[in-house]
Subunit: 153 residues, 8 copies
């Protein structure tokens, strides 16, 4: 993430990694304040064994796209909600990447889904993790059914 | 994709799969006109060995999100440009998914990047494919440098 | 509705049904978390004697359009206000349906009007209910006139 | 509709009525240029035996909402695309009705869906018409499957 | 105005009329809940000696445009801020009138300027009132200069 | 108007003045390229006997608001459609004036309505001109009725 | 700035000037309430030795563009956030200047960056100030690295 | 600029530099396809004697902001119009920079103003260039006056 002010948003992605038992690391890398550090971090990520990178940023949110341009790994972008434009600027800056360099963008402020998408990317090659994704979906269903039951009482 | 009218947009994703030698299939599955077929397609995709699904749709673009809710595989969504709202409706319908069910959204009309993202997801577990992604990036760089040279002449 | 978090919004539709003495049922059916349940619910609704379906959802609001694609009954969609985009995403996801599958969309967050529209649809074939709609309109007028009188005092 | 310039858009609604054998009439009633005629038309519609009204308008599109305020019948609004704001103004003017007076709004420029919604409203009380709606849906499915077959050849 | 909920916004227009000693009346006339009353009010306004009409409304804000279609007098429209779309819907519904029927639209929620515009319209034919407008402008200037002085201390 | 490129838009306002026999003058005054000329023009307008000023501008459309700040006369603003943002920038720059200085804004590109509004402002003090406004409205009605007749043939 | 209500926003620009030891002056000059004062201020600024002008304004934010049209100096515009449209109106009014008269626009509400941009403009001709800009950047980097360290503890 | 497809837009900036006799160089540097080249270019620009950098980019337009984060020189950003979102994405990506790293943003597609802003930045320290800016402004005024004369004939 680009700043520790993004941590309240990004914490949900970390929580998902922990819930699914997926190894991960957390780094503050700013595209605008530490551009050289960002270049180094992104260029070496796949050599260090990382499989997926989640990057969150707000406003002129350049971090996800710049990291994506420096790594062959899939990069997931989380548009962090901005004060003035409510994250529309963050969304456009992250999703509207030019031909050649994709960023897998999730909903504004929805780092939980970034975590889940990372897990699903890993799971497509790990049958056990895929089962855990299915089990997670089952709990989502269950919670809807329980709400229905409570409504009927 | 939801309709053969999306084919001109989605063809760029097919071309990328062919360029990288990645096995793929193409299906017209409409969330609104063939909902039962969509349910069946999405529920069985991972059992049939698919690893990633790319879904393109325009307007009230429900296909990517609905497929994502029915499969544990990562789903990439392509917002197809719409006549009246130029794809803003498609983008919002695809990217703004609720907690629990992510869709990896790319730029409006940018199916080439959807193809590349799918390749990168597969490549994170296949070193040879990762090398090809790096080589592809090299050709992007080369073409920029050639343009610079032409400019200087 | 897609979640019990939509209940505060959707309660106004239930209140209208009760006010007009129109039989109704309330269900939590999530397009993304219980897609199979949604398919079953929507496909059987007209066989169970339902005449109109009201569906509310927020963000990538797929529920109304998906239900509409699975039932021949008229479906009324309520765009529930979202935190980041204030319901513009919900509105576009619900109203911008493709040719063939309409959703009768009301104002963002205005479930009361969804209830009234359902009553008016039923009333077009029930003269007594039509009279009650007219009487309801009369009370709206009366309340405006009373406000005018209070203003003049 | 408010002007004969809306006819190219609204013709699709007329075509659906004809396709389903539903009796209908076509009128040019302008909220702004013939307001008295609009009041009279809307107030008497249910007495003349009309069951549903479809109203299309563009820009500051007041016709659907004003007609809705003058009739107890369900009113379907078609936002006609505008030159400058591409129908966003029409959409907001039609869908954002205050509590008490709903307009069943369909997609920008999608009069075909307005016709289908009108048919579905009538069909909820006419089993034979409901069967025809189901048959219509079947042809939509069929056309998707045929496109798939053509794709595979 | 269309509802007494618009009174906190519209009070600023009344205050301006009082400040400039301009005779005025205040009426709650709802385009959607009292359409017949609106027709009568607007059609007779110029016969009763009114010179300018100020109309405020929010959401699908039809009141200013409908009044304008029923009177030859200049109509000033105030887009009242709406909860979901912050008055963009109100602004589009009021300002985007079709050729033939103008509404003189002021800023969202800015009824003070509606009052001033009404005064300026009257003043263009009353030299004394024009002088008062000039004097009012002078006080605006003076207050800026005083703020500058306070800043420098 | 700010440039002769605005003339195709603004010509409709001139045509209305001519149609109603209202004396008028046409000037190219640019807020940004001839600011001193604008100040002089606006400050002296009421002394030269002008009663209403119509100002059209596009993009960062400062002309109407700046003229309004320099004259006690009512100023009508026409947002000229811009290439990139289709006049939304022009509309916001013209209508969102601060408390104290109103601009009577009409629809994007609708100079005809600016002309009509100017005529109505003059007419509120000239009974004969008011009659002509009423007659003009009658021709609008008539043209709608004729379209209805043509439709029925 | 156009009003003392802009002071809480603009204070950050003043703070930057003080931090970098750059001489500056603060003035309240309203485009709409003190247009003549604005003309005089802007026309004489370069003769009085000013090198850069920072102008902040909200809503129909004409001040930066009007000042720019009256001075050959570079003008930096700060879109002050507005209540209804959250500064989108301010941004469009400031940035969308016509060919010939640029305004160097910074982010909505970001007067700190306006101050930094002014310092950088001066620094491009003052090596010592350029060094201070580099040092300032170094502290930005340092603070990111410290946050990373705190995160790891 | 990021691509030779931006050349038709950016050519107007080059033309201004030539018109004012300001030394300049043109480079194609892509933030996403040649990130390392961009880092090197931006880090060394001030050492090579450059005084101002103009950067144009479209869509997720990261080039201006990334260059700004790597140089102490003032950076001018030109939002190049994009196909789908007409440059709103480019504008937000360029202007909404975080505290610490400003980009001097001009209007969408208006590279001419970027050139003029660069000239004005240089001119604030070169009296002769400042005179040329004033002379340029004089020709703008003259062309407006000539248009007025042609209009009057």
């Amino acid at each position: 993430m680009g700043s520790d002010s993004d941590l309240p948003t990004m914490a949900a992605a970390i929580a998902i990694c922990e819930e699914f038992g997926v190894a991960h690391e957390v780094a503050i890398v700013s595209a605008h304040r530490t551009p050289e550090r960002m270049v180094e971090y992104a260029q070496n990520a796949h050599r260090r064994g990382l499989k997926v990178i989640i990057a969150g940023a707000g406003g002129a949110a350049h971090l996800p796209g710049m990291v994506a341009s420096l790594t062959p790994l899939p990069v997931i972008g989380v548009p962090v909600s901005s004060r003035q434009l409510q994250g529309v600027d963050s969304l456009y800056s992250i999703v509207q990447m030019p031909r050649g360099i994709p960023v897998a963008t999730v909903a504004i402020g929805n780092a939980q889904n970034a975590g889940l998408l990372a897990v699903q990317i890993l799971a497509s090659h790990q049958p056990k993790l895929l089962d855990r994704v299915q089990a997670y979906r089952q709990t989502l269903k269950q919670s809807v059914l329980e709400k229905q039951q409570r409504l009927e009482q």
